[in-house]
Structure formats: structure tokens, C-alpha cells
Symmetry: C2
Subunit: 117 residues, 2 copies
Amino acid sequence: MSSVAELIERTDGPTVALRAKLFRGLADASRLSILDALRTEPLSVGEIVAITGLSQSNASNHLRCLSECGLVAGEQRGRFVHYRLSDQRLNDLLLLTDELLAETVCGVDTCGNYGAR
Amino acid sequence: MSSVAELIERTDGPTVALRAKLFRGLADASRLSILDALRTEPLSVGEIVAITGLSQSNASNHLRCLSECGLVAGEQRGRFVHYRLSDQRLNDLLLLTDELLAETVCGVDTCGNYGAR
DNA sequence: GTCATATATCATTCGTGGCTGATATGTCGA
DNA sequence: TCGACATATCAGCCACGAATGATATATGAC
């Protein structure tokens, strides 16, 4: 049996705050639509803007964020910058969440604690 | 090759907003610490409060949120309510994110677009 | 060089959501 | 029935962060 103090002390893997921050990176419809657009193929910023419907500055801001976090990687080609997913395991992550959404964590859409900004 | 219009039209799986909302559920250190505490065994609210250090009302609020979303399930036992993870695939999800955090998406901690509330 | 295109940066605004403190509901023991 | 404990609910405050609009930088065409 483990005491409360021990339970408090345990720090398994990355800190909870770090995990939360990763999820916050994914917890935005704009960023998710960018990632979703990049699932199949690399795209330039202009293409991303066209596909997602985001404004140019907004898309660029989110791309900087995603890039800093390491979720996407950009490569300059001429005057275009092509972004791609930095890790294909992001696809696995998204697939897993889709499974959960379809089966167990229905009710997310009706949860009133936070909205659909 | 697919036109921009076709790319805009595609709606694969759950909507982006729904996925974002699930991630927002996970994008909070308090909720994550609750989920983390529940990874090994079901716990009462009091135990969760003791382990996470959250205030009672705060923990209860988050538990309601998690419960509504379907991430956890509560069962009344006497005057205690024992909560558990509703789906073990949440463990897989957390493990995957830990992998990503360790390898590719380092830089999350230093990303300045959002903080560590 | 100049102009057009592609992307990035920055300040401001404003809604959202997390925390707190007080109170309400519920459940058991005496 | 009364009191103690366990949990839930609610209103209010405050900070964070997403979107916008204007501007800056960079790259290529002419």
C-alpha cells in the first residue's frame, strides 16, 4: 500500500503540466484543422489557408506555434514554405481519439464546462 | 489531384471541432492529474483531492466535466463516490503522448503561444 | 533596381473557462 | 431526528489565449 505522500511524490514520465500543454496545442479547432490538412501531404501556407479557411495571419500564427512545439516542420522552397507533420505517430494519436470519440467519450459534444470556441 | 474545393468539403470522421473539444478536456493540468491518479485504481473524491492537491469544489467540478464527457465513470458506494477511467484506451493515449513528448514534440514546454496556467 | 507575391510579426480586443468561497444536497451513525 | 462527513452546485472574479488588422520581412519575376 502506498501512502498519500508517496502518491503525491510520484512523478512518472513527463510532468502533468507538460502533458497538459501538449494537449492544449491540440485543443484548438484551427490548429487541428491544420494538422488534419497535413495528414496526407505537405502543404504550403497558402494551401493551408485555402483548405482551412483561416486568415493568413491566423494560420501563420498557429503554424509558428505548431512548429515551435515540434508538431509540424517547415521547409522553405522558393518563396513558399512547405509544412508537414513532424511525426507520423500524430496520425495514430488522432486515430485513437477518433475511436474514443466514436465509442466511449461521446458526451464530449454536450459537455457544458467548456464550449466550442 | 484534388481541387481546393474538394479538400474543403471533405469531412473525415468526427468533426474537427469535436476532436478539439476532446483535447480541450485533456488540456488542463487539474483534469490530467485526476486522470493520472485514476490510471492505476478507482478512487473516491476525497482520495483524489488528497493526491492531486486540488480543492474539493474544484476537483468535483472537474470530475463532473470528465464524467459528462465520458472520460471517467463514478459509482456511489455508501457516502463515497468512486471514480474510474471509463476506457483503458485512455492509458494508450497518454502513453502515446508521453512518447511524443520524449522524442519529437519537445519544445512544447518552451512554446510561448500559450502558458502553463 | 522595382513590383508582386508569400509568409511572418505585432498590438489590441474580447470571449472563454478555471479557481475560489459559500452554500446545498446527500448519506451514514448515534 | 440530529449532527458529522462526503460530495455537488453555483456565482463571481480574473487571466489566458484566439482572432483581427496593420505592418514588416523575404523571395522571386521583370
